[in-house]
Amino acid sequence: MSARRVGLLVAGVVAALLPALLPHPFVLTLATQAVVWALLAASWDLLSGYTGQVSFGHAGFFALGAYGAATATKHADLSPWLGLLAGALLAGLVGLLAGFPALRLRGHYLALVTLGLAEIVRLVAQNWLALTGGPFGIHDFRSFPGLPATALGQRQAVYLITLGVAGAAVAAMLWLCERTRAGQAFRAIREDEVLAAHLGINTTGWKLLAFAVSSAGAGLAGALYAYYINLVSPVVASAATTSLVIGMAVFGGLGTLWGPVLGAILLFGLSEGLRFVGVVYNLIAIGLVIMVFVIFLPRGLAGLRSSGPGALRSSE
């Protein structure tokens, strides 16, 4: 078994046993959030790093998932399990629709249009009081049913649920990218879209798929976020969220999917750790990390394992 597989297995086991290893509500809350970020970063990487369609609007899909889930549970009285589905589907659908016009855009323009879309989502969330609760957001909706009564028990259960759902989602995305024709198409599109089209690859279809899957993943992360924190507000759609996600992906390694997962967990941990030094320094550190990594380690942590021109396009 390759070193990477062993590493992943060990990580998975540790992650699953965390509630038993470190039974503190605070630690588990942080761990839950880290898992959410990991899913968010991986889903962004699928579209932007792996398929090369750089989006600056990921926060928008995150917010759609969060608001979708919260609204579904609060207003339609749906079970949170269905809420997760609702959030993911809503974000995925909007992502698919956004994918159509985005087909024509490349590079800067795609990034800016997606940024604009996310801003629109944020503005709607902030100003449409009846639908979204305005600046205060939505807060009185229930979380998963059948949770233990104790605070610690609740946190443990929520953590495990989040880990399970997010883990499954990331695994599914990895499978899609590494083991199916979709993944081959994504890589071809990233390398040279014109050539891919000439080779008969249906770039339109695959790009739309990437948009849909990526945004659904972000929506799922948003829904999980909603249920663990029990509050959604317009802040989740801010550009700061996108910035953080991109930082995590760059740190971990663009285009690898598992790199951003690692990057998210590490960077989140760093960020929370620095919070003890001073609330503001964590963002300063994130900014520094992004700049330093982009210049000196553009392939992120994942790139440290391999070197040489052959590894520039990473996918193992």
């Binding site: 932007s48 090369g52 750089v54 600056f56 016009p101 024509r104 855009l105 590079g107 800067h108 323009y109 990034a111 800016l112 249009v113 940024l115 604009g116 879309l117 801003e119 629109i120 503005l123 709607v124 902030q126 100003n127 550009a239 700061a240 910035s243 991109i246 930082g247 760059v250 001073g278 503001v280 320094y281 963002l283 300063i284 994130i286 900014g287 520094l288 990390v289 992004i290 700049m291 982009v294 210049i295 000196f296 553009p298 520039l312």
Partner: protein
């Protein structure tokens, strides 16, 4: 009715001047370096803070405050190319950059914004108007402060256009934007022009921040909403096209100002983004077309 329309028109025009300072700088940087400066808003914020610092803390006159803001932002902008962009360029060599420059300036934006927060705190700051008094136009009135903002913006932008059009160094800047290889062939030092361009763009944004300080609040994140709106404006005008950026600034600001007649005011900000998306889909080259680049 006329007085309301006039009031909106004035508001739109003044805001347009502010947007213009910001968007023209952004467009200039893109035209010359082919880099979208996501951190542009932080130059604006820095300008605001420098003005507040000079005027409220050091009790310097308003003019010194604005000049200090311009200088401070200029120096920071000058540093961005050699410190951040040049190293990335060197490492990339001939490889396509993809999203890397965008991500780099995004990191810079995060770093600068949170640094401002760390140094200056998160409070909303403000200074008094640089000029007091109101100009009575009969039907309506406009404060001298707002007129000052507009006048300064127009003078500076005119100065920039004249510089680019007539001065030898300005010609060099345009040359680099149009054909960097040929610019090198005639002896133009590219890194110097890149740094200068970033400095100029930053200075314009910094002045904008200083001018805005008496009208709105200064806080670390004040520049970011403006940055993303400026993206919309530059796309509307044609990326890299300075006259287009200026025109689009007024189009957007007037649209926003008059929009309150038909939609609730909190939806004003949506206009720019909706326009941007429509433009990108229907006429990506913008109103005046993309400036011809490589």
């Amino acid at each position: 009715m006329l007085d309301t329309v006039l009031e909106f028109a004035i508001q739109g025009v003044v805001l347009g001047g502010l947007y213009g300072l910001f968007a023209v700088g952004l467009s200039l940087i893109f035209g010359v370096l082919d880099v979208i400066n996501v951190a542009h808003g932080e130059f604006f914020a820095l300008g605001g803070y420098l003005a507040v610092g000079a005027i409220a803390l050091l009790h310097l006159p308003a003019g010194a405050g604005v000049a200090g803001a311009a200088l401070g932002a200029f120096l920071l902008g000058l540093a961005v190319y050699p410190v951040l962009i040049a190293p990335l360029k060197r490492r990339l060599g001939r490889r396509p950059a993809g999203p890397l420059y965008l991500v780099l300036t995004l990191g810079l934006s995060t770093f600068l914004q949170s640094s401002l927060l760390a140094v200056a705190g998160g409070d909303y700051l403000q200074v008094q108007s640089y000029v007091r008094g109101i100009l009575d136009l009969g039907v309506t009135a406009v404060s001298y402060q707002r007129l000052l903002v507009l006048a300064t913006a127009l003078v500076l932008l005119l100065g920039l256009f004249a510089f680019l059009r007539f001065h030898r160094l300005g010609l060099a800047v345009r040359a680099v934007a149009q054909n960097p290889d040929a610019a090198q062939a005639v002896g133009i030092d590219l890194p110097r022009i890149f740094a200068l361009t970033l400095g100029l763009g930053a200075a314009l944004a910094g002045v904008g921040g200083a001018l805005m300080a008496p009208l709105f609040n200064v806080y670390p994140a004040v520049g970011f909403p403006l940055t993303i709106k400026a993206f919309a404006i530059t796309i509307l005008g044609g990326m890299g096209n300075l006259a287009g950026a200026l025109l689009a600034s007024f189009v957007i600001s007037l649209a926003e100002a008059f929009s309150v007649m038909v939609i609730p005011s909190q939806w004003q900000n949506l206009i720019a983004f909706v326009v941007m998306i429509v433009v990108l889909l229907l006429r990506p080259q913008g109103l005046l077309g993309r400036a011809r680049t490589r």
